[in-house]
C-alpha cells in the first residue's frame, strides 16, 4: 500500500503515540458492534469506526476500510471499548497450539459450506 512505509508519523498521530491495546485481545475476526453514536469533536478515526460498526463488523474489515494496519486499528478499538462505545464479540474457537476445533463447530462449518 503506498503511503505507509514512509509515513510512520501518521501512525504516531492516529494513535497519539500509544503502542498497544491495554489488555484487550482483539482477534482479526472479533466482531465489533457500535453501542453509542459518534459525538462532535471525536477523533475522526473513532467516529468512522462507530459509523462502520452499526452492524457487526470484523476487526480486519475495519482495518481494510480505514486503510490502517491491523495493530493500529486494535489500539483505536481499545479506546472505544474502554469508553463503552462499542462491544466486542470474540471468536468462540480460540484454541491453544495443537488443539483441534470441536466436532460441533466443524459440522457447522461443513454444513455452511455445503449450502454455498
Amino acid at each position: 500500500m503506498p503511503g505507509w512505509d514512509d509515513s510512520p508519523d501518521r501512525l504516531y498521530t492516529v494513535t497519539r503515540g500509544r503502542s498497544r491495546p491495554p489488555e484487550h485481545a482483539f482477534d482479526l475476526v472479533t466482531l465489533i458492534v457500535t453501542e453509542q453514536e459518534p459525538v462532535a469533536g471525536m477523533q475522526s478515526e473513532h467516529a468512522r469506526i462507530l459509523g462502520l460498526c452499526a452492524t457487526p463488523t470484523a476487526v480486519v474489515e475495519i482495518a481494510a476500510d480505514l486503510a490502517l494496519p491491523v495493530s493500529v486499528v486494535k489500539i483505536l478499538l481499545g479506546d472505544l471499548l474502554e469508553t463503552s462505545r462499542i462491544t466486542a464479540r470474540h471468536p468462540r474457537f480460540a484454541p491453544t497450539k495443537a488443539r483441534l476445533p470441536d466436532l460441533d463447530t466443524l459440522k457447522q462449518v461443513l454444513h455452511g459450506l455445503q449450502r454455498l
Binding site: 503511503g3 503502542s19 482477534d27 452492524t55 470484523a58 480486519v60 486503510a67 494496519p69 493500529v72 462449518v109
Partner: protein, 213 residues
C-alpha cells in the same frame, strides 16, 4: 489497490453487512506464492469482493509493539487479502489469502492463531515456492490440505506433485480451479473433512487411552 488513507471516503454500503446476530468469527488461511491464485480462490467463494489490508513489522521481523520506535526504524508491512462466507445466523467464516514467503511467517501467530486450518495453493510450475509454507505449517501443527491450481492441462499426476513436494501421505492433495466457485468450495470442504477426521481420531484416543498406549 486504491488507498489514500483516511481522507478517502470509504463507502461501507458497497458490501453486504453481516447479520445483526453474527457473533462468531472463524478463520481459514489460504497460503501460496505470488500469483498462484490465492485471491482468485478467496474471491470465487466469498460473499464480498476480496478486501486488502496489512500489518506492520520492523525490518528485523519483530512485531511492532512500540510505535514510538517506528519513526526511527524502517518498518515494513505485510499485506493480505480476505473474503467472507456467512455460515449461519451466528457464524461467519473469514478466508485469508496470505503470502508464503519467509518474512510473512513472523506475523503468523499474531494474525492467524486460532485458524481452523489452511489451504496451501500450489502452481506446478513453481512448486519450490510451497516447500517453505508446508514446512512451517507442519511445525505449527495446523491442519492443512494442498490444492493444485490447474491453469491448464496438468503435465504431472498428483502422485508426481506429492513426490516433488515430499508431502506425507496423511496430508490431502487435490486438484482445483480457483476461478470456479464450486471447485474452490470443494477444496474448503476437503479441508474441513480432513480436520474432522483428525479431531475424531483425537477424541477416540482420549476416550480409549489404553488402546493408543
Amino acid at each position: 489497490m486504491d488507498s489514500n488513507g483516511s481522507d478517502t471516503a470509504v463507502l461501507p454500503g458497497h458490501r453486504a453487512p453481516l447479520r445483526r446476530t453474527a457473533d462468531n468469527g472463524l478463520k481459514i488461511v489460504v497460503v501460496g506464492g505470488f500469483g498462484v491464485g490465492k485471491t482468485t480462490l478467496v474471491g470465487s467463494v466469498s460473499e464480498i469482493r476480496p478486501l486488502n489490508t496489512e500489518e506492520m513489522m520492523t525490518k528485523a521481523g519483530e512485531d511492532v509493539d512500540d510505535l514510538t520506535g517506528v519513526s526511527g526504524k524502517r518498518s515494513t508491512t505485510v499485506a493480505f487479502d480476505f473474503g467472507r462466507i456467512t455460515l449461519d445466523e451466528h457464524s461467519v467464516l473469514y478466508l485469508f489469502g496470505a503470502p508464503g514467503q519467509e518474512r510473512f511467517w513472523f506475523l503468523w501467530d499474531r494474525l492467524f492463531s486460532g485458524a481452523l486450518g489452511a489451504v496451501v495453493l500450489v502452481d506446478t510450475r513453481r512448486l519450490e515456492e510451497s516447500w517453505y509454507a508446508i514446512d512451517r505449517l507442519e511445525q505449527h501443527g495446523l491442519p492443512f490440505v494442498v490444492a493444485r491450481n490447474n491453469f491448464a492441462e496438468p503435465g504431472h499426476s498428483l502422485a508426481d506433485v506429492r513426490a516433488a513436494l515430499d508431502l506425507p501421505d496423511h496430508v490431502p492433495l487435490v486438484d482445483c480451479d480457483a476461478r470456479a466457485r464450486e471447485s474452490s468450495k470443494q477444496v474448503l470442504i476437503e479441508l474441513v473433512r480432513h480436520i474432522q477426521s483428525l479431531a475424531e481420531a483425537a477424541a477416540a484416543a482420549e476416550s480409549f487411552p489404553e488402546v493408543t498406549e
